[in-house]
């Protein structure tokens, strides 16, 4: 009993014990923090990497073709020459989403059905573009169709 009391009363080397505990606590905290940061960073990196690769992988798989372009009139307005009907076919193995149609470098605002449109594999879609001004006979139009993943098909078509 007396020995225990004397041990508690003995103050020699207390500072060393306290400092050791302090250092241990700091090192442990730092280790946990660094490990947590590393795991989090690696996880984020993997997520980003996964996103980029998945996007690129799906993008390179996309294949679609401008099957036919038909210059015609808008419904109910024969002779107005303000409609261009575009047939696009998805010939790739993945579904794609058509986001834009450009005519002569200008984004077409009036497309029926409204874009974006999802086009399943091996399917064809008819896009009816209404023009602000009439197309002219024998004039050449540059037509570009863009997918949501950034792929583009384009070509020149001559009006009848």
């Amino acid at each position: 009993m007396n020995k225990k009391l004397s041990l508690l009363r003995d103050r020699k080397a207390v500072s060393q014990v306290v400092s050791s505990l302090l250092i241990l606590a700091i090192v442990t905290t730092l280790c946990v923090t660094v490990y947590g940061w590393a795991v989090s960073t690696v996880g984020d990196s993997q997520d980003n990497f996964n996103f980029i690769y998945e996007h690129r992988k799906n993008a390179i798989k996309e294949r679609f073709t401008l099957e036919y372009v038909f210059f015609t009139d808008t419904d109910g307005n024969p002779g107005d020459h303000k409609n261009v009907t575009i047939y696009v076919r998805n010939v790739g193995n993945t579904d794609l989403t058509i986001s834009d149609v450009d005519l002569n470098g200008t984004l077409s605002p009036t497309v029926n059905p409204t874009l974006p449109q999802t086009l399943p594999s091996n399917q064809v879609i008819k896009l009816s573009v209404t023009l602000a001004t009439s197309w002219n006979s024998n004039s050449t139009t540059h037509i570009a169709v863009t997918s949501e993943r950034g792929n583009l098909i384009q070509g020149y078509w001559e009006a009848p």
């Binding site: 590393a38 690696v42 690129r56 294949r63 073709t65």
Partner: protein, 322 residues
């Protein structure tokens, strides 16, 4: 003993540090391996797409003249589109567009189902298949009065377009040298009596007054008639085996078989039929005892569908003894 070991703290920091480093390395390796897997996955996808791109580029359909044939029916109008598959892969046709350029109307035909009135059948074209017939059931009747653009869409996304009626320039592109073919072993010689044509072994007796008449049988294997003109010529090379292998080049022109004079006008060789072409070589003399081997080719000119046409035919060897 075990207590001593447990109390012994020497080297503990090394163990802890090593475990920590191993953990970090494992984390890095895991991340690296995962990235490699992703990269491989991407490369495999790219290779797969490249393969399908190569197949797409490989597709090669050639329309046969006249492009549309066998018109029949009163609606649905039946006709055939003749194509050659020049590709080593089978080709699946998934859609046909028929654009009437005269009336500016577009007809779209998909593979025919039992319930559909219009469409097309036999759209699967085997590799290296020639004269494949795609049966079309159309709401419009292609006729020679209007101009049509026919477009075939394949499953791999290739487009093949032809015109009907086909422009004459394209018709010429489709005319093959074999449209007029020489009937093998039909080369004969004759002289006074034009009906007395000799087999391809002749002697000096076949030459009258220095004139040699020759006849060859040709066939038209094409799909439209060919009208041959007097400008068609026979170019021949004769090897004189007994005169130090001398080689003579002679020319002959077409003649009227009845009069043995100039060509009467023109000769029409209908598709799938044969025509007799008579050539006349003037001033011909075979020295007695000579053996000559005749090898000839005919340069034929004429008209086809009202336009200039030309062809060349290589004929078989022909032996003449003097």
């Amino acid at each position: 003993m075990r207590k001593d070991l447990w109390r012994n703290k020497r080297g503990l920091s090394t163990v802890v540090g090593s475990v920590f480093i191993v953990l970090i390395i494992m984390l890095g390796m895991n991340s690296f391996m995962w990235q490699m897997l992703q990269h491989n996955d991407y490369q495999m996808a790219a290779a797969e797409v490249n393969s399908s791109d190569q197949e797409r580029v490989c597709e090669d359909l050639a329309f046969q003249y006249p492009g549309v044939t066998g018109l029949n029916g009163t609606g649905p109008y039946l006709f055939k589109i003749l194509v050659n598959n020049n590709c080593p892969l089978d080709i699946q046709t998934v859609r046909i567009y028929i654009y009437d350029k005269t009336n500016s109307t577009l007809t779209i035909l998909d593979p025919k189902t039992p319930s559909s009135t219009y469409g097309f059948e036999n759209g699967y074209i085997r590799s290296a298949k020639f004269n494949h017939e795609i049966q079309v059931y159309s709401p419009i009747e292609p006729d020679d009065e209007n101009e049509y653009e026919l477009r075939l869409v394949t499953e791999r996304g290739r487009l093949f377009t032809t015109l009907y009626p086909m422009p004459l320039t394209n018709v010429f592109a489709n005319v093959q040298q074999s449209q007029v073919v020489y009937s093998a072993n039909s080369l004969k010689v004759g002289f006074d009596n034009s009906s007395d044509w000799w087999p391809p072994y002749a002697s000096a007796a076949n030459v009258t007054s220095g004139k040699l008449y020759m006849r060859a049988v040709f066939g038209n294997s094409g799909t439209s008639p060919i009208v041959l003109s007097t400008d068609s010529v026979l170019l021949s090379q004769i090897s004189d085996a007994t005169a130090n292998d001398k080689v003579y080049y002679i020319g002959g022109h077409l003649i009227d078989p009845a009069t043995k004079e100039g060509w009467p006008g023109s000769l029409t060789v209908e598709p799938g039929t044969t025509g007799y072409l008579y050539f006349h070589i003037d001033s011909w003399n075979i020295p007695s005892g000579d053996v000559m081997v005749f090898t000839g080719s005919a340069g034929l000119v004429g008209t086809k569908d009202g336009e200039f046409w030309s062809g060349a035919i290589l004929m078989d060897a022909f032996k003449i003894t003097g």
